[in-house]
Symmetry: C2
């Protein structure tokens, strides 16, 4: 059941990579109502493309979705190719999104414990494509990546 959401998230991450940007993508999938799960928002990190420090994968997907009623968020899952940072975890908590599916948490471990401690279901897929794309990017453009997580570049 998580295939659709992660495919859309990964497609957004790949698009960002192809544009020279940070390759992290996300999708917000609504599974309320009677119908099939439906992507209501998708996006990717736009630090490079839009000079933005707040458009990460998850926040970009929320922005793409626009203004939603509280009940939509509460019946949705956030799919993201990489473990969510504190800002994106905070956005998930703000809107009470009950479930987060993470492509991988090898290249970066975000606020998974905080999410779990607040009752959010966190699933880590350990996806090989997500891991490989992110690892390649960090090798190629470490400056942009460390800037994205507010860290000074490591010299080791």
């Amino acid at each position: 059941m998580d295939r659709l959401g992660m495919e859309v998230a990964y497609a957004n991450a790949k698009k960002s990579y192809d544009e020279g940007g940070v390759p992290i993508g996300a999708a917000l999938v609504y599974h309320g109502g009677d119908g099939e799960p439906r992507v209501v928002g998708e996006g990717h990190n736009a630090r490079v493309q839009k000079n933005s420090p707040i458009l990460h994968g998850e926040t970009a997907a929320l922005e793409n979705a626009g203004r939603l009623k509280p009940d939509v968020y509460r019946n949705s899952t956030m799919y993201t190719t990489l473990s969510p940072c504190s800002m994106c975890a905070g956005a998930i908590l703000l809107y009470k999104i009950p479930r987060v599916v993470i492509g991988e948490n090898v290249n970066f471990v975000g606020e998974e414990e905080l999410l779990r401690s607040r009752g959010v279901e966190v699933v880590v897929l350990n996806d090989e494509e997500c891991k490989a794309l992110m690892a390649q990017y960090i090798r190629e453009k470490p400056e942009d990546w460390y800037e994205d997580i507010g860290e000074k570049i490591r010299k080791d």
Copy 2:
């Protein structure tokens, strides 16, 4: 020393109110280097004006500042007219902004304890103008306000 930052934050909140938007404003003030404190970013909630669920006061100020080096954030203070929600608190943690000055936390209490638990200095000014503007807005447009914090509108 906190006058400049809160004046800019409040001016942004008032601007948003005058535009029909959620009246929460913020300013990021850099106090590193040898010079005077300097506003490097400012903004206001843009849920109404830009149909945005992620442009809160603090995130709008960060977006306005654009891409900054890690050291700039680490020598800055975030001023916000209202106690920061989990998304904005998460953004403050992401960029390791060491100090947050809050206009008021009467109309909404955000993630002050989370920030303090991670070592952020949190100052609450209990500012009468900030309180009055926000209270007026919540009375006038409760639907937009509760949507902004992911809550269903209260009928009490």
